[in-house]
């Protein structure tokens, strides 16, 4: 699949950005976890972002020229995205050094700035695809879905890390259920709007519905995790390490499938000849 590097880059980078924002919120809210876990989480987020960027370079004809991407921030969202993720990585290094008992205040301040940059980087990623030449994308949907990827996979990523490190299991049931609810509703509304439209927008919607990826995303990204969460609530069972990991992996695969659907179903404007 030609867009695989972009699929993996967007999902992993958004997951890393979402994970950082989660880590920052947990730290600010005074959740109890060790400095070591904070450090490890920062390293893992850094590595995930670097890996995602390296994967994205496979999409380029000349990966070694990627540094030139910082030069057109005046008009290009791709350029802005590159700058924001570079700044994110630099700030992560600084944030990593602040995991010391006497650095809580500076860590909070630096973490706040890093979280804002992470959010802006996800937004820039979404804005890249708001293109008049791709009518089904030429709206708020790419930005919204990229935010939702970060909001769903990021906390689960941190939850899994914390669980593996033996920290107190984060209560992710309610936040995950809410994000799944928003994601599922907005995705179904978006698909319905596409299908009920005309021309290329409708064709994109039909491509989505005709793709097995659509159903794969529905199941793995939302329905099965939601059923697991509802079952946990019903049986008053807290998510343990195994269950958090299973839900996280399921969501991650669902996000990758969903992003493949995003790139694979789009119809672009073209010259129509017989």
């Amino acid at each position: 699949m030609g867009e695989l590097p972009l699929v993996l880059f967007t999902v992993l980078s958004q997951m890393a950005a979402g994970a950082f924002i989660t880590l920052y919120i947990l730290d600010v809210k005074g959740k109890q976890f060790s400095l070591e876990t904070g450090k490890l989480s920062t390293i893992v987020i850094f590595i995930t972002t670097v890996v995602s960027i390296l994967l994205s370079s496979f999409h380029l004809g000349h990966p070694l020229g990627a540094t030139k991407m910082f030069t057109n921030i005046g008009s290009s969202w791709l350029s802005r995205e590159a700058v924001l993720f570079a700044v994110f990585l630099i700030l992560l290094v600084g944030y990593y050094t602040q995991w010391k008992p006497d650095k809580a205040s500076t860590r909070t301040q630096l973490g706040g700035v890093t979280a804002i940059v992470a959010f802006l980087a996800i937004t820039a990623s979404g804005m890249i695809y708001v293109l008049p030449a791709r009518p089904a994308w030429n709206n708020f949907a790419p930005v919204l879905f990229f935010w939702l990827t970060a909001a769903l996979s990021g906390p689960l990523f941190i939850g899994t890390l914390f669980a593996i490190k033996g920290e107190k299991i984060l209560n992710l049931l309610l936040p995950t259920a809410i994000v799944i609810g928003i994601g599922l509703t907005s995705f179904l509304i978006y698909t319905s709007l596409l299908v009920s439209s005309t021309g290329l927008v409708q064709a994109t919607g039909i491509n989505m519905l005709n793709s097995s990826l659509f159903w794969g995303k529905l199941l793995l990204n939302w329905l099965v995790p939601l059923i697991i969460i509802l079952a946990s609530v019903l049986w008053k069972k807290k998510l343990d390490t195994k269950l958090v990991t299973v839900v996280f992996l399921m969501v991650l695969v669902g996000e990758i499938i969903g992003r493949a659907l995003f790139y694979g179903s789009i119809e672009a404007l073209k010259i129509i000849g017989s």
Binding site: H59, L60, G61, H62, P63, G65, A66, K68, M69, T71, N72, S75, S76, W77, L78, S79, A82, I128, L131, P132, A133, R134, A268, L269, K270, I271, I272, G273, S274
Partner: protein, 187 residues
């Protein structure tokens, strides 16, 4: 607005011979998979009478080029005469322009792994010569015009099948084919 060069495509004259495509490919020795100019058949049912007509299209050197807006490395620029240039030495082959152009003009060259597109033979225009496609058309169906001063009766901004020109304001004008001359034998 200053000068804005563009193509005038006369679909009444065009016979779909693809000479313009070949003249360009030959002049620039393009990769076999690339065509900077393409002759598109107009759908037969787009006019009131079934007709076989064509529109020959290359880069439209838009007034507001999407390729230039989205390119992260600034490989695109617009000359004072409105020609949209692409600098291969800056291009990194990210394909963003391919995604953004409503006319699918930029193409990925699999050999050099960069994007390629029509530059209206700017180097020939600077010498007062005609672009390869214009010179190569046996029907004289393609001309270079300055759309800021161009005001020919009957010229239009789009033909059936051409995407909405309001997105990028393409610098191309068409002479519509005359409909109703073709006589078809009944079965």
């Amino acid at each position: 607005m200053g000068k804005q060069l563009g193509f005038l495509v006369d679909s009444e004259r065009c016979i779909g011979c693809h000479s313009c495509e070949m003249a360009c490919k030959n002049y620039y020795q393009l990769h076999p998979s690339l065509r900077r100019r393409k002759v598109h058949p107009i759908q037969e049912n787009d006019y009131s009478m079934p007709e076989r007509n064509y529109m020959s299209l290359a880069c439209n050197h838009c007034v507001e080029p999407e390729c230039m807006r989205v390119c992260p490395v600034g490989a695109y620029s617009k000359r004072d005469d409105g020609i949209v240039m692409h600098d291969p030495s800056r291009c990194i082959g990210c394909k963003m322009c391919i995604m953004a152009c409503p006319y699918q003009v930029p193409q990925f060259d699999p050999e050099v792994k960069k994007v390629d597109k029509c530059k209206m033979c700017a180097q020939l225009i600077d010498k007062g010569e005609k672009p390869a496609c214009v010179a190569g058309c046996p029907m004289e169906a393609i001309q270079i015009i300055d759309i800021t001063s161009f005001n020919k009766y009957g010229a239009v901004k789009l033909l059936p099948g051409f995407p909405n020109p309001s997105i990028t304001k393409p610098s191309v004008r068409f002479i519509k084919p005359t409909i109703g001359k073709q006589i078809r034998r009944d079965k």
